[in-house]
Amino acid sequence: MTNVVTLDQVYKTYDLGEIKVPVLKGVNLKIKKGEWVSLMGPSGSGKTTLMNIVGLLDTPTSGNYLLNEEMASAKDDDDLSNLRNNHIGFVFQTFNILPQLNAWQNVALPLNYSTQNQTPRKIAMELLDKVGLKERATHRPNELSGGERQRVAVARALSNNPSLILADEPTGNLDSKTGKDVLELFEQLHSEGITILMVTHDTEVAERSQRIINILDGKIA
């Protein structure tokens, strides 16, 4: 099995001029293809920081990051954008879907930035069907419940057929019932062989995954 994520001695220090905030202090991590990994740790321990690096939104201060066994460090901004577009699907705690677009347009958004020629509407409709929101395709986000919004976000994360889903507390803003619905969706994705890295504070949620890793003092314990 190939490694989708390989972190090798990754350091991240936030430079605030006078003050330097070291957050990651030598993180080593491997995630295999098809794995579902939960990332836990106290607030402020650097979970989001780590997710940003894995998601190619941020670069490590030092250390190496390999996505699909390929060096991701030292790529230029356009290349990183294309890698995000082609390989990574984000699901955020606050959904982060655009209010001015309807459900299917939100789902199709990543396809706008793809170089491949695709049929955005068709793909979006199929994915909305998959997350059980086919009937809501033309609804605006303010016409959807929190759980529905998060399912739109999951559908969006899948639209470019990514090799890795990064979910930062995807159930954090949901009540336990809708949270469970969303988790079931992740279980389904996992069963389809999609690689998932999920941040959570909830041990119950974490236990659904195959592997739980803890971040403490800037290192994976």
Binding site: G55, D78, S81, N82, Q100, Y113, N160
Partner: protein, 429 residues
């Protein structure tokens, strides 16, 4: 992302807050409106100039007796009167002639015509000595203008014959009693019957009609006071002077036509100088239609300059307005920028997105501005009496100006949006 996609998204964004978008574009609306109005006015002035010169004939110079003398000449030249110097339109002749010790001014005469006719730039010259007379018509007496002139008259006035011939230099030398009549004269005196070969009696002298002139519409000419030539009767100027003892023959007007390519204003001033030698007391004016047009257009040019200033200020203010709103929008939509970047938008995608919004808002403002400019030019033409014309070129220019302003002033905010680090943008509340 494809351009069409970008514009569709920009459209959605703009129409989300239509009133705010309208206010953003207001400067562009006024700027483009002013640009359209300027172009419409200058285009209208140009077209009017062209049409007036077409009727008058380009490159004509008219030496006219000034008004105070008009009556005396048509009643028979030579009666003394008070001659008033009319200031030439370029104003250097002054009033010294009539105020000075030069004595009463003499009327224009054939000698003046001979003096300027030979000038290098002059192609042809004709005299006009007019007199109102009554002719017996089929429905009672009709009043016509008898014009004593020379053989080049038709060519100079841009008139054509519909029947017969015009008199030639031989007729003039021999003082033949021949006449060429205008179309209205012909109709009023002869109806549909034969005109050529018939006799008209002017002051009891019989003239044989040898030709009839075609109608010409002078009504579009506002620059120069001009007679309707329909009711004219042309006779040789030399014949007209028979029975008067005057020598040389007095004239009301000398009309000159320049060779093509000659400058009417320059030759106008040369002609004025030459005629002044024989007429130190003035009593004549030199009329150059091109000069009058230029004078009339000077006013429109000043208007255009003022409007141009308003236009540029409006466009700059409009552009700054767009920049200002764009910057605010970028900050407002920081989170969205972060999301789009996370989903794979490159810097240039973000830049293109915001740029197409300011572009589209400008172009829409430009479209509204075109209507405003159209209304403005209509208002100006009905208020100031200037003719205006909206040209396709004007619309294209206005559109390009609007688009350019949108792109220039939208550039920096869009650039800023694209330079935002994705992580910071995503953390933005």
């Amino acid at each position: 992302m494809k351009i069409l996609n970008l514009l569709r998204e920009a459209w959605a964004e703009i129409t989300l807050q239509p009133f705010r978008s309208f206010l953003t574009a207001l400067g562009i609306v006024f700027g483009v409106g002013a640009v359209i109005a300027i172009l419409a006015i200058s285009e209208g002035a140009k077209r009017e100039a062209v049409s007036q010169l077409e009727v008058l004939g380009a490159g004509t110079i008219r030496v006219r007796e000034s008004d105070a003398q008009a009556n005396s000449t048509s009643n028979g030249v030579g009666t003394s009167g008070v001659y008033v110097q009319t200031r030439g339109w370029w104003g250097f002749s002054g009033l010294s002639g009539s105020m000075g010790s030069g004595g009463p001014a003499r009327p224009l005469d054939m000698k003046d015509l001979e003096a300027v006719k030979g000038l290098e730039g002059i192609d042809a010259a004709a005299s006009e000595r007019t007199k109102e007379v009554s002719l017996p018509g089929s429905f009672g007496d009709i009043s016509v203008t008898v014009v004593g002139t020379t053989s080049d008259y038709l060519k100079i006035q841009g008139l054509k014959l519909q029947e017969g011939r015009f008199f030639d230099s031989l007729d003039i030398e021999s003082r033949n009693k021949v006449a060429v009549i205008g179309p209205k004269t012909r109709g009023l005196v002869f109806g549909t019957g034969q005109a050529i070969g018939n006799i008209v009696r002017i002051d009891n002298v019989p003239y044989t009609i040898i030709g009839v002139v075609s109608p010409k519409d002078w009504s579009g000419v506002t620059l120069v006071q001009i007679r309707d030539t329909g009711k004219d009767v042309y006779i040789p100027v030399t014949t007209m002077a028979i029975g008067t003892s005057e020598y040389p023959v007095g004239l009301n007007e000398i009309i000159l036509r320049l060779k093509s390519g000659e400058n009417p204003v320059q030759w106008g001033s040369i002609v004025e100088k030459i005629v002044s030698i024989a007429h130190p007391a003035g009593a004549f004016e030199v009329i150059v239609p091109e000069e009058l047009l230029a004078q009339q257009q000077e006013l429109q040019r000043i208007f255009s300059v003022v409007m141009g200033l308003i236009a540029s200020i409006s466009l700059i203010v409009g552009g700054i307005g767009i920049m200002n709103i764009s910057l605010a929008t970028v900050i407002q939509r920081t989170r969205e920028i972060g999301i789009r970047r996370a989903l794979g938008a490159r810097k240039k995608d973000i830049q293109a997105q915001f740029l197409s919004e300011s572009f589209l808002i400008s172009v829409l403002g430009g479209a509204v501005g075109i209507f405003l400019g159209y209304a403005l030019s209509k208002a100006v033409s009905s208020y100031a009496g200037w003719s205006t014309a909206i040209s396709g070129v004007g619309v294209v220019v206005a559109f390009s100006v609007a688009a350019t302003v949108g792109v220039i002033f939208g550039w920096w905010p869009a650039k800023r949006a694209s330079e935002m680090p994705p992580v910071d943008a995503l953390r933005h509340e």
